[in-house]
């Protein structure tokens, strides 16, 4: 499907236009600023839905391609395109962005700057999922860091400045390895190219050492973003210190960029790399699953608990990615990315709702608030169940696919690695149920929490789409899987080269 107009370019740069427009609005007119940014974000969502509607899921070909010469001096072109791997990410990104913008309506500090940075961030995020040229990809990948730095550093919690610079430095540290890998691949390819599609074609012809080295470099960059244990230490700081909307974005979109980068770049481009590193990556995945769950179990702070649960849940993605011969595993990884985006996004949102009212996130401080806040409690319990993989919710589908796929791949040897990962499911149930029990059940402190009000309509509207999608995908996952199937089949073929 091609349009007479460059729909991907419009989708990427619409938020940027919104950001520029915001600069001209008087900074005291908070509502005008809020609604303008929500409007631009909404149109962006519509655009991605149009892309989704017209996307041909029967083929693994890149669609809506745009190719323009950009900087011939370094061999870089402006190439955009989407396939079954990027389309779900595009829709997820624009949906989560809109929700995060609406949930940010209660921001009162430096409103104009906040939404300007937010829209810049959205521009960068969508760009990452649509770029097919290495240089362009890298530019979008880095552009996001700047608004993110400000958003955490200005509107975050008490240790915001530390968390912001830690996030910035950590991610940049990862990116530099990607840059070296990109340059190595550029100069190894003949003729020199930065086009991802061309490099995927010729990737297997590179020597073993080049493939291993480039793969390792890419892995560091992406693993920091995911984050894979032991590269995860920026995550608790950034997630906890960030304002609610940014925690949502971090969990739902930014972490996915790591796994997306692996699926899009290093896995298909450097098949000898993944064949060589498959088992270590699976081990790292399992460590993340169990370690993340154990640390979550020990958390006293609600937001930290959700943050560490991300480490654990992204571990399933890594385990699936290690099982590179199985289409089921790849689909499980993609499904987990989407499902974790919805569920953890919602959990961060709900934690933020409670924090706004109670001004504390300490699990022990609450108890029995289920009676006082029935709607809130219902939502929180629902997403808690989704997070621990209750059948009927999207989390169950993705974890099931991950386990089937990775058992399939590792059956002959190393099956016990996968078996260990199942332990993670039990631990997840433990920390989620413990959290629900301590916060919502038990004695209610009327004196302290009598003033709490239930979730309001704006917040409910924000969380509703996430809830609906979590249940729909849990009951009827077929459309999502169909959407990605052709691309993932192709991916597995590429990795078998």
């Amino acid at each position: 499907m091609t349009y007479s107009y460059p729909i991907l370019t419009y989708t990427i740069f619409l938020p940027l236009i919104g950001a520029v427009l915001l600069l001209f609005i008087d900074k005291e007119k908070h509502n005008a600023i809020r609604w303008t940014s929500a409007f631009f974000s909404f149109i962006t969502l519509i655009m991605t839905l149009v892309i989704l509607k017209d996307f041909d899921w029967t083929t693994a070909q890149m669609q809506f391609m745009e190719t323009h010469s950009w900087i011939p001096a370094i061999g870089s072109n402006y190439i955009l395109g989407v396939d079954g791997i990027s389309v779900p990410m595009l829709v997820l990104t624009s949906l989560i962005s809109l929700i995060a913008i609406v949930i940010s309506f209660n921001i009162t500090k430096r409103v104009k700057e906040y939404f300007v940075f937010f829209l810049l961030l959205e521009c960068g995020m969508i760009g990452v999922f649509a770029a097919l040229d290495f240089f362009l990809f890298y530019v979008f990948w880095e552009i996001m860091l700047v608004p993110m730095y400000f958003l955490i550093g200005i509107w975050g919690g008490p240790q915001r400045e530390y968390a912001a610079i830690k996030f910035f430095l950590y991610t940049l540290f990862g990116s530099i390895f990607m840059l070296v890998a990109i340059l190595i691949l550029y100069f190894t390819s003949e003729p020199h190219t930065l086009s991802m599609m061309e490099l995927i074609q010729i990737g297997p012809s590179f020597s073993h050492n080049i493939q291993i080295m480039a793969f390792a470099f890419f892995f560091i960059a992406f693993a920091i973003k995911v984050p894979v244990w032991p590269f995860h230490t920026w995550l608790p700081d950034a997630h906890v210190q960030a304002p609610t909307a940014i925690s949502i974005i971090l969990a739902a979109v930014l972490l996915k960029m790591g796994t997306y980068g692996m699926l899009r770049i290093s896995w298909p481009m450097l098949p000898e790399g993944i064949q060589y590193f498959s088992v270590p990556i699976a081990i790292l995945g399992v460590i993340a699953i169990i370690y993340g769950a154990l640390v979550s179990l020990a958390q006293k702070d609600l937001k930290k608990l959700v943050a560490y649960s991300s480490v654990s849940h992204m571990g399933y993605c890594m385990l699936a990615l290690a099982a590179y011969t199985s289409v089921t595993a790849m689909a499980g990884c993609m499904f987990q990315m989407i499902s974790h985006g919805l569920i953890t996004g919602a959990l961060f949102l709900l934690v933020g709702v409670l924090y706004d009212r109670a001004h504390t996130r300490e699990i022990a401080a609450f108890g029995g608030i289920g009676k006082k806040l029935p709607v809130y409690t219902a939502l929180m319990v629902m997403f808690g169940m989704a997070s621990l993989g209750l059948p009927g919710m999207s989390g169950f589908i993705s974890e099931f696919m991950v386990f089937v796929g990775s058992f399939d791949h590792f059956w002959a040897e190393y099956w016990y690695i996968v078996a260990l990962a199942i332990l993670g499911v039990v631990l997840t149930a433990a920390y989620i149920l413990r959290m629900i029990q301590n916060v919502f059940l038990g004695e209610f402190d009327e004196e302290r929490w009598g003033h709490l009000t239930d979730i309001n309509i704006r917040e409910t509207l924000c969380v509703a789409p996430l809830a609906v999608l979590t249940i729909i995908f849990g009951i009827y996952p077929d459309p999502v899987i169909k959407l990605m199937e052709a691309s993932l089949n192709n991916l597995v073929t590429l990795m078998a080269r």
């Binding site: 001096a73 530019v139 550093g153 915001r160 910035f168 840059l179 550029y186």
Partner: protein
């Protein structure tokens, strides 16, 4: 008869410098506006002349002594750009001086002429004279605020170290003359290469040949030339003068020093090493490879510059160490010794000009308004002067190499050249150090945006300062997103070299 048309831009600027000097003598001395605007106009016209009279060379016999090739044109644009921006941000500084206000601009133009000679010189004596013409006016300019002790100290320090480094350079050049019997760069290039080919191999016991060097004197000559020229670029360990001089000098002069004289010194290094001594660029020549020597210097410079910059509290000292580190990155392009390497040096300098001149312009403006020079004094600037703060953020992030700004494109290009030349380790080190550098660049941003203060200073730039900020801001953004035209020009400059 010697054809002097290629010299017209330099001669024009020289005349204009004298005109500015005279103007001061005859005009009322109440303001600096007249000599300043005349100087700016002279710089712009010289820029046009550079392109109009390019492509030719001044010859002595069959040897070129002064070339107006695309390489020198490119660097002259950077030098003139730096001069223009420095003059534009000098209005406030010069206005507050009590003495010799007109001479300030004349000296700046004289120094610019020297730099232009330096980048065009194809003969050792001319090169040396160009270097002296560059630095002697700068000695005076650095010490211009003579009632200010820091400024006087800086001037004296710069004079002594400048003179010492020039002497070392001259010694190195004379040894080279001793080896070859000529001072023309292209003749030296041929003779050293031929000398190497005829003397470089000696038979050993096994009957095969070993590679040997050119002898100890040649190594000494290389080292002295490297030392002499890297003094000008403030490469570690020849950087000790830079922080004090940068701190003490009037801010526009610091900016000019950190961009203009760096560009000119870089051009001379490229001419001498990538041009004249290309045969000795790589490891094939044991003992005589300047590539290895410089790679070590570049590595040490990046590490020391970036790490020391973290600890600085004075913004000018921080920028001084940052520019030391930046010189380390640029040196990587020289070491690559390839078309891409030379092109990347040019582009890097070009991008660096915008970010650094812009940053210093803001530092100067802020100090004029508030008298404060510490990084922590910038607290709350994002509220009182949001546009200035946004520009400063762009300059800092460009220096740190964050896309889509020009500084990122420049780093990418230089690293590409180094990877192509096989210096992967140097690139990884440079990238690691650029992560370190982000810490102190982002610190300025943090203080402007995230630290609250009761700062009420609303900075309103004067027209010329506003022009400087607008030009540098646009440059940083535009050449980050659409760098192709400049990259093309930079790549063409490499055609002046043999590789």
């Amino acid at each position: 008869m010697i054809n002097i048309t290629p010299l017209i831009p330099e001669l024009f600027l020289l005349v204009m410098a004298i005109v500015v000097l005279m103007l001061d003598l005859f005009s009322s001395r109440r303001t600096v506006v007249v000599p300043a605007y005349v100087s700016m106009a002279a710089v712009i016209i010289t820029g046009f002349l550079v392109f109009k009279f390019g492509g030719d060379a001044v010859r002595w016999g069959s040897n070129a002594i002064f070339v107006a090739d695309s390489f020198s044109q490119f660097f002259k644009v950077i030098i003139l750009g730096a001069a223009f921006l420095a003059i534009g941000s000098s209005f406030g500084t010069a206005d507050r001086m009590t003495h010799h206000r007109g001479e300030f601009f004349a000296l700046l133009l004289f120094s610019t002429v020297g730099m232009m000679f330096l980048v065009s010189a194809k003969e050792l004596i001319l090169l040396y004279v160009g270097l002296e013409l560059t630095t002697i006016p700068l000695f005076v300019l650095v010490a211009y605020q003579k009632t200010n002790r820091a400024s006087s100290e800086a001037g004296l320090k710069y004079l002594i170290i400048g003179a010492a480094s020039s002497a070392i350079l001259l010694y190195g050049l004379s040894l080279l003359y001793g080896y070859t019997g000529t001072t023309y760069l292209n003749e030296i290039a041929q003779k050293t290469a031929v000398y190497f080919l005829s003397h470089g191999f000696i038979p050993n016991a096994e009957g095969t040949t070993d590679l040997v060097g050119m002898g100890p004197a040649f190594s000494v000559a290389l080292m002295m030339i490297i030392a002499g020229l890297t003094f000008k670029l403030a490469i570690v360990p020849f950087h000790m003068w830079a922080p004090d001089v940068y701190e003490g000098a009037p801010t526009p002069i610091t900016a000019f020093l950190s961009v203009g004289s760096k560009a000119a010194g870089l051009a001379a290094i490229i001419r001498i090493f990538d041009g004249m001594l290309y045969a000795f660029s790589h490891d094939t020549m044991p003992n005589d490879s300047w590539g290895t020597m410089m790679a070590v210097l570049a590595a040490v410079t990046m590490v020391a510059g970036n790490i020391i910059a973290i600890r600085q509290t004075n913004i000018k000292r921080m920028l001084a160490y940052s520019s030391i580190a930046q010189a380390g990155y640029i040196l990587i392009g020289v070491i690559a010794a390839s078309k891409l390497g030379v092109a990347s040096c040019g582009f890097y300098m070009f991008a660096y000009m915008f970010a650094n001149m812009g940053a210093f312009a803001i530092v100067g403006l802020y100090a004029e308004k508030t008298g404060k020079k510490n990084i922590s004094d910038f607290a709350g600037l994002s509220k009182t002067s949001p546009i200035i703060a946004a520009l400063m953020t762009m300059f800092m992030l460009s220096l740190a190499g964050i896309p889509p700004l020009a500084g990122f494109m420049a780093k990418y290009y230089i690293f590409a050249a180094a990877i192509e030349a096989g210096y992967t380790w140097l690139v990884i080190l440079a990238l690691l150090m650029s992560v370190v550098s982000l810490y102190y660049y982002a610190n300025v941003v943090r203080i402007m945006y995230m630290v609250d203060s009761d700062n009420k200073h609303h900075i309103i730039p004067s027209f010329p300062a506003g022009l400087v900020l607008a030009l540098t801001g646009i440059g940083v953004l535009l050449f980050g997103i659409l760098p192709q035209s400049i990259l093309d020009m930079a790549y063409k400059t490499a055609s002046s070299f043999i590789f």
